[in-house]
């Protein structure tokens, strides 16, 4: 009798069914557009230089992959994010065809390189339903842009912002990079000032990473290591300057304006990652995480196009995520945010001795059933998380 009951219960609850098909459906969609005019020395993303002739085929493949995976997406998609590469380098007609075929969403973000933003592009994106543009400004110092091998000049960034404003965009994000070889504290302050002058709704500020195997690391790695001490306080400077200008330091590397109309200007798509939500990724190298599975599509354009042309899903690297791993990730991601992290369900991912040490050092505080890092704790977020992980 009892056995029968359990069987019935299992049938009723699809969550318990082994493997086959995830039940909860993703409300967040990432689409990777890998094409770039050229590869920047410091970049280690999946990018494809040139190959203009493949843009249409690639968009076809994306749409076919979307079709194949439609069942994984919720009926109501909250956010869509087009990342790259340089999405705005994609042939405009193809970009529009893609945008129009993607599900509607409250937030649709497109990454853009400043030099690609023309009034026509801005208008077209707006008309195609894009609500938010993230501009890779990096720095406003021409000599530092050269170190990064960026094509755009400082004026390209300003011009791009104005074109986007003219087209009606009221949610623009700028990416800045600090810790560039040769960047002085006054260079950094000037960059922050120049960025603030454009009054973006959102800012992402990243410390430049010397990623292994990149041309940049080869050329500048030793110099970066040498400057590490001198640049130690740059992160503090960034946070002080931006919060001083009324921005909210809502994630380790992300800031948003407090909006007069009461809009929440945090990047909703990225927020989904930090809150540990499921997401579907399309395109080469794109990652999806749904329930206990994470997979990464092949980074090889040819293989990807070939598979989808034949109606097959592309080759994927699959990682099984057990509850424990997801809990650890919740901890790691959640502690990047300024809001306290609710500990319910992830207690076992915490090392109690580590937590005690971190609290004793004044790096974190418990607020009821949630854990919040102090300001200093946030500056040391990586080490604090490592300490807290069981």
């Amino acid at each position: 009798m009892a056995l029968e009951m359990r069987d019935r219960a299992r049938r009723r609850s699809p969550r318990l069914e082994a493997g086959s098909e995830p039940v909860s459906r993703a409300r967040h969609l990432y689409v990777h557009l890998p094409f770039c005019a050229r590869r920047c020395g410091y970049c280690d993303f999946v990018t494809v230089v040139g190959r203009r002739g493949r843009h249409a085929a690639y968009v076809d493949a994306l749409l076919r992959e979307l079709e194949l995976e439609r069942g994984l997406l919720a009926d109501e998609v909250e956010t869509v994010f087009l990342g790259g590469g340089t999405p705005t380098f994609t042939a405009l007609s193809e970009l529009v065809r893609l945008l129009e075929a993607l599900p509607r969403a409250d937030e649709v973000t497109v990454e853009a390189n400043p030099e690609t933003v023309t009034p026509a592009l801005a208008r077209t994106l707006r008309e195609a339903g894009v609500t938010r543009v993230s501009l890779g400004a990096q720095t406003f110092r021409p000599e530092l842009l050269r170190v990064l091998e960026r094509v755009a000049g400082p004026d390209d960034v300003r011009r791009a912002v104005h074109h986007l404003r003219d087209a009606g965009f009221d949610n623009i994000s700028l990416d800045l990079v600090y810790g560039i070889p040769g960047q002085s504290p006054s260079d950094l302050e000037a960059d922050l000032g120049d960025a603030l002058a454009l009054a973006p709704e959102h800012l992402s500020c990243y410390e430049l990473e010397a990623k292994p195997g990149t041309r940049f690391t080869h050329a500048w790695g030793a110099e970066l290591a040498r400057q590490a001490d001198a640049m130690e306080d740059y992160f503090e400077r960034v946070v002080a300057r931006l919060t001083g200008a009324g921005y909210r330091w809502y994630e380790t590397a992300n800031f948003c304006r407090e909006d007069a109309q009461g809009r929440d200007l945090r990047a909703r798509h990225n927020l989904a990652y930090w809150l540990g939500r499921d997401y579907l990724g399309l395109g080469i190298g794109a990652v999806s995480t749904i329930e206990n599975r994470r997979w990464r599509n092949t980074p090889r354009l040819g293989r990807y196009l070939e598979a989808l042309a034949a109606g097959r899903a592309p080759e994927r690297e699959v990682e099984q995520l057990d509850a424990d791993v997801r809990a650890r990730e919740r901890l790691m991601l959640g502690l990047r945010l300024d809001e306290p992290l609710p500990l319910a369900g992830i207690e076992h991912a915490l090392d109690p001795a580590g937590l005690a040490r971190i609290e004793r050092l004044g790096l974190a505080e418990r607020a009821g059933a949630a854990l919040a890092l102090t300001t200093r704790g946030r500056f040391l977020g990586g080490a604090v998380t490592a300490e807290l992980l069981a």
Binding site: E207, A253, E329, L333, R357, E387
Partner: protein, 596 residues
């Protein structure tokens, strides 16, 4: 065998001067081993010995030559085993003194030659490697002859490698080395000159019968330690174990004792029979005491039981190794081990790592100290952490050091020895180019990096040997290291008061480099008692974040943090501070440092 037809001899030489090759040639020539059985350096049994080119355990091989029975007794070749060497020599009447024709006399040659002379041995000088292009047989012969007060013409010139002159060596052994004396009718006495442990047969003693005779199944007893056992088997090496019914005066062989622990049958002891005991033991027995101590800790504390088992097994075969459990607040559970010297320590460490597959952390070595505390007697201290902060008197072990060096480096050697609290003894010219220096030095001054310093300051030309010269008073203090206010026992050191400030400063500087920046400021202090003599600060980290983390790289970022966490686990937690294991070796690296 007629006692008059027996010759017992050994070979003494500096490392690499060709002792093992000569032994191999002798075995080949006397057909003790067939060419097929022959493998190079047959006498060196242990893998480690072969690799390091040194011999740890002596063995004796019996060969026949022109109607004579020759027993070749192999001796360990290093200063740490001087006592074992001296016992092996005592089992002989003669010794081949082998000198490299290109290198000439080295400090070890001298030490061993003197040891052989002290034991009353007939020395047969041999210049080896005459086939080498850079060989100077004439120069080397003169040096050796001068040393022995002998005629250079009597120095044999050979190439053990090609076999030239080896027959003459055997003839010289027969002619020049006296037959064993000893009374074949007296109560039996045999000298134990080495022992070995066999897991099936127990302890096997290598013996030289001096008086009387021993037979299989005799009830026997050692005269110094009083251990009783039966002679389960008697025999000799040819070079495989060959059983015989009896061993009599003048002969060299082995006794299978069935004992389960080598420490019960010590080298230098005398074996006699229970039925007809000798009145007096043979002279010269010493209870060898370790002089150099270090803490051995498993890198992974879970391996503690494996380390304990491994030490037990090693101890079966190495009576000189002593150890006792020790707990360090910084390093956890481990053992304080005592060694005869640095080489012995190195050999034990390597055997533990190689034969038992253990990852070890070895603390900086220190010497044995004798301390007198107010209201208490003298006691010996083997660990700086146990060294009292207030002492009435302290004594430390000294060595007589013997250094041979080309004359242009004499100044550098003298300077080094002065820095190391050395007292000049003598200077003599071995040849117009080469000088022999003797010094008295505290053992503590040579246990860290003396040998490296000597080599580097003489561009590798110096050779060095020492023997212990007893305890002498020293003006010594204990320097403690505090990390974030907590004393770290494993980093304490004993140092001469004059050097305390400098050593303390160097140590905290080194630690500042070794201890990674933490989430808070970490003070590193060196202190004598409650007085801080040096201080450094490891500044707190100001930022440690993963720059960005989005959907595409969550797995990689998670793994980074998990790796960071695993790295923390490998560090030793001292209070709130994570100290990498390398930091504990910082004491080693500063050595007597800064003065170089």
């Amino acid at each position: 065998m007629d006692q008059a037809k027996i010759r017992n001899f050994s070979i003494v030489a500096h490392i690499d001067h060709g002792k093992s090759t000569l032994a191999d040639r002798i075995l080949e020539l006397t057909e003790a081993v067939s060419a097929r059985e022959m493998r190079e350096q047959l006498l060196d049994t242990m893998e480690l010995e072969r690799e390091r080119g040194i011999t740890i355990k002596a063995q004796a091989v019996r060969v026949a030559w022109k109607g004579y029975e020759l027993n070749l007794i192999d001796t360990p070749g290093h200063v740490d085993f001087t006592y074992e060497v001296s016992r092996s020599l005592q089992a002989c009447e003669g010794a081949l003194l082998v000198v490299d024709a290109a290198q000439g006399i080295e400090a070890q040659t001298l030490a061993n030659a003197y040891l052989a002379i002290e034991n009353g041995l007939e020395i047969v000088p041999v210049v080896n490697k005459i086939d080498l292009p850079q060989a100077d047989p004439d120069g080397a012969s003169v040096e050796v002859a001068d040393l022995l007060g002998d005629d250079p013409a009597r120095v044999l010139r050979i190439s053990a490698k090609t076999g030239v002159g080896v027959e003459e060596v055997l003839d010289a052994v027969v002619e020049r080395v006296p037959a064993p004396a000893g009374d074949p009718d007296a109560p039996p006495r045999a000298l134990v000159f080495d022992s070995s442990y066999d897991q099936y047969r127990g302890v096997v003693a290598f013996v030289r019968v001096v008086d009387g005779a021993f037979s299989t199944r005799d009830a026997l007893r050692t005269m110094a330690t009083g251990t009783r056992f039966d002679a389960e088997e008697l025999g000799f090496f040819s070079p495989t174990m060959t059983p015989v019914d009896s061993l009599s005066a003048g002969e060299v062989g082995y006794v299978v004792t069935g004992l389960k622990d080598v420490s019960r049958l010590r080298v230098g002891d005398t074996i006699t029979s229970v039925a007809r005991p000798a009145a007096e033991p043979l002279p010269g027995y010493k209870d060898v005491k370790p002089m150099v101590f270090a803490g051995l800790y498993p890198t992974d504390s879970d391996d503690y039981p494996e380390l304990r088992d491994a030490l037990e097994k090693l101890k079966l075969n190495d009576a000189a190794l002593v150890y006792e459990p020790e707990t360090s607040q910084a390093l956890g559970f481990g053992f304080r081990c005592g060694f005869l010297g640095l080489l012995h320590m190195e050999i034990v460490r390597e055997r533990l790592e190689r034969e038992f597959d253990l990852d070890l952390l070895v603390t900086a070595p220190n010497v044995a100290y004798r301390v007198l505390e107010r209201g208490a007697g003298w006691r010996e201290v083997h660990n700086p952490a146990e060294f009292p902060r207030e002492v009435e008197e302290v004594e430390e072990p000294y060595v007589r050091a013997s250094i041979i060096v080309p004359k242009e480096h004499v100044g550098a050697v003298m300077e080094l020895n002065n820095e190391r609290r050395g007292t000049f003894g003598a200077l003599e010219y071995l040849s117009p180019e080469r000088v022999h220096l003797t010094y008295e030095l505290p053992l503590a001054e040579i246990v860290l990096d003396y040998f490296d310093q000597l080599k580097s300051r003489t561009r590798g030309y110096a050779s060095f040997d020492y023997d212990l010269a007893g305890f002498k008073p020293g003006n010594l203090v204990r320097v403690d290291v505090l990390v974030a206010g907590d004393p770290v026992d494993a980093l304490s050191l004993i140092v001469h008061r004059d050097f305390a400030y400098e050593r303390g400063r160097l140590l905290v500087e080194k630690l500042r480099e070794e201890i990674p920046r933490q989430l808070f400021d970490v003070a590193i202090q060196a202190a004598i008692g409650s007085r801080v003599i040096a201080r450094e600060t490891v500044k707190a980290r100001r930022k440690d974040v993963l720059a960005k983390c989005y959907g595409g790289d969550i797995t990689r970022k998670r793994k980074l943090l998990e790796k960071q966490k695993a790295g923390k686990k490998r560090m030793k937690q001292v209070g709130m501070v994570e100290v990498p294991q390398e930091a504990f070796l910082a004491v080693l690296n500063i050595g007597q440092g800064g003065r170089s």
